[in-house]
Amino acid sequence: LAKTTQPISMDSYEGQEVNITCSHNNIATNDYITWYQQFPSQGPRFIIQGYKTKVTNEVASLFIPADRKSSTLSLPRVSLSDTAVYYCLVGFQKLVFGTGTRLLVSP
């Protein structure tokens, strides 16, 4: 199971774009890259998933370079409600959650 490394915490202000980078040097050929969001006392919630290049949905973008050894989650114009822990995972069905990135958005 591929291990991921991401910053422990990040701070931002409302309206700013936030980019969280994750490294996954031993990603396997059939692994997908997935990001989850978790609020206190709740289960994680799926944000976005990709295999290569760029993926965009209504809440985020995911940038994956050609070597797939890292990925960047981009949250445009964050709000206070985006304060949460963000997990980067690589895998197929068996997922390894790291410690995540604790994002704090301030007014």
């Binding site: 199971l1 997908y32 997935t34 006392s41 709740q42 289960g43 994680p44 919630r45 799926f46 998933q49 997990y87 197929f92 069905q93 068996k94 997922l95 390894v96 959650f97 790291g98 410690t99 995540g100």
Partner: protein
């Protein structure tokens, strides 16, 4: 649309007792998972199931037993609870055959305290 539910939501038990945590999903998803999350840490996979009667170990399976006789249910049993099993337990389900992603849907969690 009930989704995925867990019961009980809170449980206090004593060391050595057997405890069963229930997980039920209404989507007929093929895959189901059990994770534990210790305070201030990420989730760790305990067991998962690819279909009824098919289960496999995750990262931390010792001390736990699972079964899956029906697609919609995936109970997790602690055969003899220990204090180190105090944690929040999350159940999740997914069905890659019905979607274009491997998104897992998580339940609300069960907070288990072993005294």
């Amino acid at each position: 649309d009930a989704g995925i539910t867990q019961s009980p939501r809170y449980k206090i038990t004593e060391t050595g007792r057997q405890v069963t945590l229930m997980c039920h999903q209404t989507w007929s998803h093929s895959y189901m998972f059990w994770y534990r999350q210790d305070l201030g840490h990420g989730l760790r996979l305990i067991y998962y199931s690819a279909a009824a009667d098919i289960t496999d170990k995750g990262e931390v399976p010792d001390g736990y037993v699972v079964s899956r006789s029906k697609t919609e249910n995936f109970p997790l049993t602690l055969e003899s609870a220990t204090r180190s099993q105090t944690s929040v337990y999350f159940c999740a389900s997914s069905d890659p055959g019905k979607s274009t992603s491997y998104e897992q849907y998580f339940g609300p969690g069960t907070r288990l305290t072993v005294t």
